[in-house]
């Protein structure tokens, strides 16, 4: 299969160009924008739902974007095993579309959190994490959100743990997961999860903002390289 990222552009997306820049200019992958009113995924092998404030985040984050025409195609693509990654608002859209379980509520601080965080990698046997260096105790990737407080009931949390669906948890720089390093109140410090089949991933931190060496952080590259390697091999 050839590697091509399709970056969906919703009204209010604002990380679509960051994603395009990182994938195209820094990692040299084939990328194309997909307009929310279209239904054609243009032969993309990976769909990326970027961060931002789709439809002004009115009603609930991601709630209106979920009904965009392109989302029917994305849902069909995901249900057939297609690889989908949602970052920040993209993660919220995947939750609203029920492609991932749980909901996102307001940060417990009630503040918009915009800073670098560390993520412990909980499962290196996924499409999205296989190339993450074993030596890395934690990934340094920025967050920028007001509603990133992941909530799931006790049964679902148990299921996520049993199925190894928790991919990233907020931690200190050595990968120790604790309350002190939980920036938003997420249950179990959850920062990123995959679906049961392992082909859909959502994460609140922004790996596309951690790809350019000029900006001093490149840990995000490992996530995109994992996806690329999976498709190319």
């Amino acid at each position: 299969m050839s590697l091509k990222f399709g970056v969906v552009v919703f009204p209010g997306s604002n990380c679509d160009h960051d994603a395009y820049y990182s994938l195209r200019k820094l990692l040299n992958y084939d990328v194309e924008f997909l307009w929310h009113k279209d239904t054609d995924l243009k032969q993309s092998s990976v769909i990326l739902l970027p961060g931002g404030f789709s439809y002004g985040d009115y009603l609930r984050t991601g709630a209106i974007a979920r009904f965009s025409p392109i989302m029917n195609s994305v849902i069909n693509f995901a249900n057939k095993g297609g690889i989908v990654i949602g970052i920040c608002n993209g993660f919220q859209i995947l939750l609203e579309a029920s492609l991932l379980p749980g909901v996102m509520i307001r940060n417990n601080s009630l503040k918009f959190a915009c800073k670098d965080v560390y993520l412990s990698v909980e499962n290196r046997e996924t499409i999205f994490s296989a190339e993450i260096s074993e030596a890395a105790k934690a990934l340094k990737i920025p967050i920028a959100h007001g509603e990133g407080n992941y909530f799931a009931d006790a049964d679902l949390l148990k299921e996520l743990e049993v199925n190894r669906q928790i991919l990233f948890r907020y931690s200190d720089e050595n990968g120790n997961v604790n309350d002190e390093n939980n920036p938003n109140g997420s249950q179990l410090n959850i920062a990123g999860i995959v679906n049961k089949n392992g082909n859909v991933m959502g994460m609140m931190p922004h790996p596309e903002r951690a790809c350019d060496p000029t900006l001093g952080r490149i840990d995000g590259q490992q996530i995109f390289k994992s996806i690329a390697n999976y498709i190319l091999n």
């Binding site: 009603l59 709630a63 307001r106 417990n108 009630l110």
Partner: protein, 90 residues
């Protein structure tokens, strides 16, 4: 024509950080007996059909698929019929 009034409430089991913060404001205001503040949404719109059961059907879909997220919210609504001259029937 029906006027719909929808009330969306967060499920009791789901934390409401906004409600907690607003309640702190109540303490600063000097009132001390306020408990369990929960913030929801009230949404109003018209449904342009003649039959009440048709209106109910459509409002149910709107509420359950878009206006509320069934994982964390419950909804209830009431419908009142009115004629476009502006007069309410019941």
């Amino acid at each position: 024509m029906f006027k719909a009034t929808v009330l969306i409430k967060r499920r009791p089991s789901i934390l409401d950080p906004q409600g907690v913060a607003v309640e702190k404001g109540a303490k600063h205001l000097g009132i001390s007996n306020i408990k369990n503040t929960r913030i929801g949404k009230l949404i109003e719109f018209d449904v342009d059909v003649k039959d009440r059961s048709d209106a109910e059907k459509e409002v149910n879909i709107y509420c359950s698929k878009l206006l509320s997220n069934p994982i964390m919210e419950d909804f209830e609504f009431k419908l009142s019929e009115w004629v476009p001259s502006g007069e309410e029937v019941k």
